[in-house]
Amino acid sequence: MRWGIESLSWLPVPPTDFPAQCVALKENPRDIGPPVRALACCALSDSQLARLAKVIAAARDRNPAGIEGLRPFTLGLLSNSMSSLLVPALVATGARYGFDLRVVEGAFDQVMQEALDPASRIKAVRPDAVLLALDYNGVPGLMDDLTADGEKAVESALDYVATLLGRMRQAMDATMVVQTVPVPPEPLFGNLDFRLEGTRWHRAVEFNAGLAQRILADGDILLDVAALAATVGLERWFDPVQRVLAKLPFHQAFVPLYADWCVRLLAASTGQTRKCLALDLDNTLWGGEIGEDGLEGIVLGQGSPEGEAFLAVQSMALTLRERGILLAVCSKNDDARAREPFRRHPDMLLREEHISVFQANWSDKATNLESIARTLGMGLDALVFLDDSPAERHLVRLALPQVWVPELPDDPSRYPQALLASGCFESVAFTADDRARADRYGANARRGALAQECRDLENYLRSLEMTAVLGPFDRVGSARVFQLIGRTNQFNLTTRRYTQAEVESMTTDPTLFTLQVRLRDRFGDNGMISVVICGIDGDIWTIDTWLMSCRVINRRVEEAVLDEMVAGAKARGARALVGHYIPSGRNELVAGHYEAMGFSAGGKDGETEVWTLDLDGYSSRLPPITVVRCDEAPAA
């Protein structure tokens, strides 16, 4: 689906078996809090929200005490238009934010009566909050173009709201939520409307400003529906057909978005606020991979559209820091190399002093996020994690559902909008404490201690549904093989570079065993990611080149590759594989590779370490990867 605020694209798409999961939850209502919340955290349509709301209602019928794992919250809803379609959406969206949300509607279009009646439905349930959902038809005098005198009309509209609020505050101890009012794009004069007192447009602007500045008391909160409508466009927000058909206050397609804006605000008002933005580095803060492309090779800065897009991401992060959101780095990289752009790249806006915790290493990101939270003394539910890789986002969500991990559009130019529209940093106040927080937390780019126990990667890797396609070098692949040989630095045992002509001649060389490896997973095709060149010399095979793209590190692809090498060598009667590790200054990552793969140390030849694997004793570690061979004979 196309990226869009309307469809809440920062949330993951719902599982394909969403209906079946709803049925199962309805029938087996034990411990439904966490699974209901997990479903609610997907980008659900209004029908799907309604369905999930029924699951929640059924669970509540069985156990009126509440739903385990969700926090009870009662919301009174006072509206002058048809609000029944909003209710199920609010209930299901409540679960997204950890609420067992009960919504009690006032009588249809009886706003003032509800406020005045001491025995009203809403007052009777003693709600935690009351949402005063008035649209432009619900505020007297707002829509009468040019009648009476304009200023008075706005004043009396504001008085009306003040009276409503005053009556309700007397009767209950609830947080008052008041909406700003968008007006339909139906100008009277045109551009003049904004200047001319007494037009609807002018009145609405004055009314909204008056609400914010004069009517709301401390503790009341403002739901800025005018901004929401402007965000998606007034033309689309208002639907005259649905208004005449069913008195809907705005187009039904925006109900999921409206509900999310509303409940995120309730969540913020009850103290649920996120305090730290953890950032991936490669292809999130700059284009390319620092480990492979080096300081000169990464894309960042003015002069290229992509470079400017990444600048905008950094600029957003700095702005968030100024409002009290701490920044952290969480990246699979070599620590020293990852810090280099922060120290030396002239276009970097982010510097080390802006980063409160700097976690660049080869552990999985969930483990690193845990140590970031621990180092900052925060819960995981205070973290937001920005990462361009769908696979990493999936892993973190799976391992740490408390961390907010927004889905991102393909184009980094849209990252800031995606993150900010998601509302992950929604807040109802901005305090002096917020202003000072970033500096107080110190700015020495500390590194947190890694958690002792690593996450259970096995489940994650299985969930990736990886397929490796392996085969010998061929003409079609040789350009990419050449490119990988030329630019892979980190996972590269010998760092031998070959020309394209040399690579092409290898496709037909009978003294060589070669492998090119492609990897697909549920998120798509990673393309060619690994290359092996093995010299055949009697029954001893020597691994001349073994390299892999860092994008697929920690996925056990190298185990599948070794299986294939061993199978090939055995089939041709070999007894042993010999591997070399030549330190290059950039391949510390694989210093322990051969040992980890079960090779025995065979001494040193100068800088070169020699490792040997006896094929008789070899057994596969059965990595969770489906292997497909493409064994076509190399093109002659």
Binding site: S47, R51, Q242, L245, H251, Q252
Partner: protein, 81 residues
């Protein structure tokens, strides 16, 4: 697109809207025949179909549909129009 094809495309939305995953939709069905088809779920269905087909219904069309066959005919007219 012929009527059968439209029927096949609206069926998943009717199943989702009326929360009946095994609903077999026929052209002669009315709101009476389908549990949960009330004025509010009708709006939900219409909105979902407008998005699916990239069309817009008029107020008169939405309120004047007598059965599923009318709905299909209306969509068909808009798609060819």
């Amino acid at each position: 697109m012929n009527s059968d094809e439209i029927l096949a495309r609206i069926t998943p939305y009717m199943r989702e809207t009326f929360e009946n995953d095994v609903l077999e939709v026929r052209a002669d069905m009315t709101a009476e025949d389908i549990e949960g088809w009330d004025s509010l779920s009708h709006i939900r269905l219409i909105v979902a179909l407008e998005r699916e087909f990239g069309i817009r219904f008029t107020a008169a069309e939405v309120s004047g549909l007598a059965n599923v066959g009318d709905l299909i005919a209306c969509i068909s007219r808009k798609l060819s129009g």
